[in-house]
Amino acid sequence: MSKNISQYLESLDIHNFEEMIPRRVSTINSASPELPQSEYNANRVARALHPEVQYLSVREVIDLKGDVKNYLLEPAPGTDTTALAYFRAGQYLSVKLKIGESYLTRPYSISSSPAEALKNRYVLTIKRLDDGFASQYIFDHWQVGTVVEASGPQGEFVYEPLRDANNLVALAGGSGITPIYSLAQAIADGTEDAFLTILYGSRKSDEVILKKELENLAAICSKIKVVHVISDEEDTGGYEKGFITAELIQKYAPDGDYSIFVSGPAAMYKFLDQELTKLGLPRRRIRYEVFGEYKNPEQDPTFPAEAAGKTFRLQVDMHGSKKTVVAKSEESMLVAMERAGIEVPSICRSGECGFCRSRLVSGRHYIPGRLDYRRMADVENNYIHPCCTFATGDGHIRVASNEGDIKRGTLDQRKKKVGLVMTLIMSIMMGIVATLISRSGMPPQALATAPPLPVMMLSNVLMSVVVGILIWLIIPSAKWGGALVAKAKAFPGTFKFTALNCLPISAVNSIIISMVVSFINVSQSHAQIPAGFAPPLGAMWFSAWIRMLPLMLVIAYITAMIVSPLVVKWAKMPAGPPAKK
């Protein structure tokens, strides 16, 4: 006969279950009560490689020719930065700048080698551009001792042996040489193991950035070769002439497999797009550095023509601020926000890194195809990278935060609101009811001398409201209601909850308000009665109050029961039981 499942499971010792908790408790009790460790090697290395921020100070400024300077940076003394983050050759730092009222960032490739970072040294090679807002500021303001705030190393423009060919052909233009120069040094000092041929395009042969440095490297390291390509001179003195073309690349590229690394201005990329297709290389053999601010989007064929030359209004919401900024259609939303003095998180400023990801609540916009590196779900949910998004209509953007669609106070705040509103409504009801009851109980002669109905009603209502507010301030009826529903385990939104919750507030209010209103009314009529004929005030008051009380209680309770669900909804109180599953 075959066994049933229980017979199989019988061999499992049931004591294991019974001992489970005692074993757990004893294991825990025998451990140390010190504060637990949270930092291990992986955490330390992560922090060292990817610090949130680096505080650097300028150690030296070296003038190179052609409006280019080398800034030597080291950890700024007296800050949390005691060592520079190691990086991969080709990476950049995002430098934070405050120029006037604008907070901006700029990505600058580290032109020194990674090995230098181990000696706490970064070099940024920066060219002053005529229309360069940041570069001009840097040239005017950065001196020895200036403290600079920068990111950790960023960027994907690196040599990856698992992916790239061992032979590299770098196509550099102008100041795009900087990451390539870092890579060349890394190869020369053995940090990276590859062969590097640099085709370096410049306008004039005497304007070549880092020319001497590159030639020195090529001289001492056989793995590095430098070919200058000069575009703006007739006689280039032995250098190649013109632009970097497919032909030129084929002339200098090694036989066999090689990877192309492109780093230069946007115009160079547009030119190379056509040239590189002639080489027939697979996509994986061509890598591009990001080139920063995208200029003249209105010249793109897909840019909506009607938006060219226009400015729009962009509402910018961040936690703690709402601003409307002017956004020109030819400037990225990021730049528009920076102009307006808004500090927007950004790193690559080229669409790639996604750090500026923000929700575009509404607004027509344009994103150049080659810069749209958004995640698919972000495209679907209207998230954009404002560094490469251009406004083509008025818009609304949320940066570094999202706000709930329902605005509510804390539960305590809402409870107070509900209590006050309930009190007011009930007070008004009771003032009206008290008046009617009082008057119905008055003998005709008292009625004749009593104030007219509207006046009496108004004064009773006012009195009730004042008393009600005093009650709301002093007596915790809401708390008592809360205690009742908690004890009865009633959930908000149920009849039981409303019935119990309304009891204390309606009872307290009706008892006290009726006491006060009846006293006032009775003392007025008592005063009218000639002395000697009047019963004691206390007795009059008591009987008037008792007469009024039952109806007041009932009316108050019914009013509360009817009105409270509406008030609760208006105040956005939690409704419904926590769902069971």
Binding site: I5, S6, Y8, L9, E10, L12, D13, I14, N16, F17, E18, M20, I21, V25, T27, I28, S30, A31, P33, P36, Q37, S38, Y40, N41, A42, N43, V45, A46, A48, R88, E160, P161, L162, R163, P282, R283, R284, P345, G354, R357, Y373, R374, R375, M376, A377, E380, N381, A400, S401, N402, E403, G404, I406, T410, L411, A486, K572, P574, G576, K581
Partner: protein, 512 residues
């Protein structure tokens, strides 16, 4: 004047996001503070070139459609979170390749009938044993239902008499249970493949937790979202926001303040204070206790000892690779392949101690399930493995890049040799995440992705049964992989859901 909230959630990981969603649905004024610039934690993706790499999710079993709607599906329905899911045809292929070549190569499909058919082919005559396995799963379901109804306070007598089978299973390890059920070794070898999902060897892991996972995968199948796990995170965040939740990004909670022994607020990295009496933390207890509390002496000694008695569950390594050939061209046919040198989970678990010995991994190809996962003519490929100790404790900033590259090369070679599929020459993009990477983004100790290790004394059953008596500072709760239900998408989402309800219970009960 500091802003006041009913609840502040620290960290927008799975647990934090779901807690925010549930809390907001219940009407609590909720704020989530997340140090990164987007929500999700591990549940995210990122762009490299023309690829969008999935950072963590291989599959979720607990979703389901129609009558097979699973607990995660129901949870999403209840909260009103909508997104599109794709179904995964096979559970996995397991390839055991040692020195003598391929010892085992089995493909396990989803769906009870298909599962039985495939297993009969590999292990003739195993049907009765597998029936016993699924019977045991049914016993577990009944026991867990009773646990749920008893609201964490089960009657030991009832457990012993009415749910005896469950009670016996609840105290057993996977291997103990399989031996008791007399499951043939052939089946054990194949069904052991999922041990990396729970980060422990099967002589140590809870039978209940592992069996439930197998039952889910083998019976109900598995799903992935169409647009990566980032789509899920975005959808949950959006829903929470619709329900009234505020989100602050790019700033970190650096301090949790207390007043008279109760949580009183948080302070952010840009110096802002938020008043609240309830905090739900997606951040590890180790980090909160040692670095964030203004008064660590408030932490019950038992909780500190617990943190110290525990070790970490699993540290992640993933190489995400964009290939410039289609899966067809490459010859990849499977969504997920588990490649190991032995079917013995104990041996494999021990091998995950260091890079030198850790050569068993899961290789997934997203395009098999989602042909649009990457541009036409390309493949989204991933090699993932787990580290069972601080196997990266020898890396320095200086040797890190070379170290991870060399290790990746080993794994790629092993994949090529085992599967006979060439991928090296087609690599267009590659991003290598190690425990250092996870440490960077999650801030978890050692870059742990599986919370605390599911030791014999610290398995899911032990945690569930002692949850009621293990309280920390009033007003503070933990959610995420280090929580009671351990790691995984359903457990972490569930932890957030439950924590929010408990928070509401506290507030409604007048306990602030």
């Amino acid at each position: 004047m500091a802003e006041k909230y009913d609840l502040v959630v620290v960290g927008a990981g799975n647990g934090g996001l779901m807690a925010a969603c549930r809390a907001s649905l219940m009407g609590l004024k909720t704020l989530v503070i997340e140090k990164h610039n987007l929500p999700g934690g591990c549940a995210t993706s990122f762009r490299r070139g023309r690829f969008e790499f999935e950072a963590s999710l291989h599959e979720v079993t607990d979703f389901g459609q129609g009558s097979a709607r699973g607990p995660l599906g129901y949870l999403f329905d209840e909260l009103g979170i909508e997104l599109e899911w794709l179904s995964i045809p096979d559970a996995y292929r397991i390839v055991v390749a040692g020195e003598k070549g391929i010892e085992l190569d089995a493909t396990v499909p989803h769906g009870r009938d298909k599962f039985f058919a495939a297993m009969e082919e590999k292990c003739p005559g195993c049907t009765p044993a597998l029936n016993r396995f699924f019977n045991a799963c049914d016993e577990i379901d009944q026991g867990l239902m009773y646990l749920g109804m008893s609201q964490g306070k089960p009657d030991p007598e009832v457990m012993r008499t009415k749910y005896e089978n469950f009670t016996r299973l609840a105290g057993a390890t996977v291997m103990e249970a399989w031996r008791a059920l007399e499951i043939p070794q052939c089946c054990i070898d194949i069904m052991s493949a999922y041990w990396p999902y729970q980060g422990g060897d099967l002589e140590t892991l809870d039978a209940v937790r592992y069996f439930k996972m197998l039952q889910g995968y083998y019976t109900d199948g598995a799903y992935i979202p169409k647009l990566r796990s980032h789509q899920i995170s975005t959808a949950v965040e959006k829903r929470a926001r619709q329900l009234g939740c505020d989100f602050w990004y790019n700033r970190e909670v650096v301090r949790i303040t207390t007043d008279k022994g109760h949580i009183s607020g948080v302070v952010t990295s840009d110096g802002e204070t938020v008043q609240t009496n309830q905090v739900i933390s997606n951040v590890f207890p180790n980090v909160v206790y040692s670095r964030m509390l203004d008064d660590p002496s408030l932490v019950p000694e038992y909780e500190l000892k617990k943190a110290n008695a525990r070790s970490f569950g699993g540290r992640g390594y993933t190489a995400l690779i964009g290939l410039d050939k289609s899966a067809e061209e490459l010859g990849i046919k499977d969504y997920a392949v588990f490649i190991s040198t032995s079917a013995d989970s104990g041996e494999m678990y021990r091998n995950c101690f260091s890079r030198e010995t850790n050569d068993n991994f899961a290789a997934t190809c997203l395009n098999i399930v989602n042909p649009a996962a990457s541009p036409e003519g390309t493949t989204h490929f991933c090699i993932t493995c787990l580290f069972t100790a601080e196997g990266w404790d020898d890396v320095t900033p200086e040797n890190y890049y070379k170290t991870k590259r060399d290790y990746t090369m080993n794994l790629i070679n092993r994949y090529e040799n085992t599967m006979g599929i060439k991928i090296k020459d087609s690599i267009e993009e590659i991003a290598i995440a190690t425990p250092v990477t996870f440490a960077r983004y999650l801030g978890s100790p050692q870059g742990a992705i599986y919370g605390y290790f599911s030791d014999r004394w610290d398995g899911m059953m032990a945690r569930l049964f002692s949850e009621g008596m293990e309280q920390t500072i009033p007003g503070l709760r933990f959610v995420g992989s280090h929580g009671v239900r351990l790691s995984g998408y359903l457990p972490t989402y569930t932890s957030g859901d439950i924590a929010a309800k408990q928070t509401m219970g506290d507030i409604a009960g007048g306990r602030k």
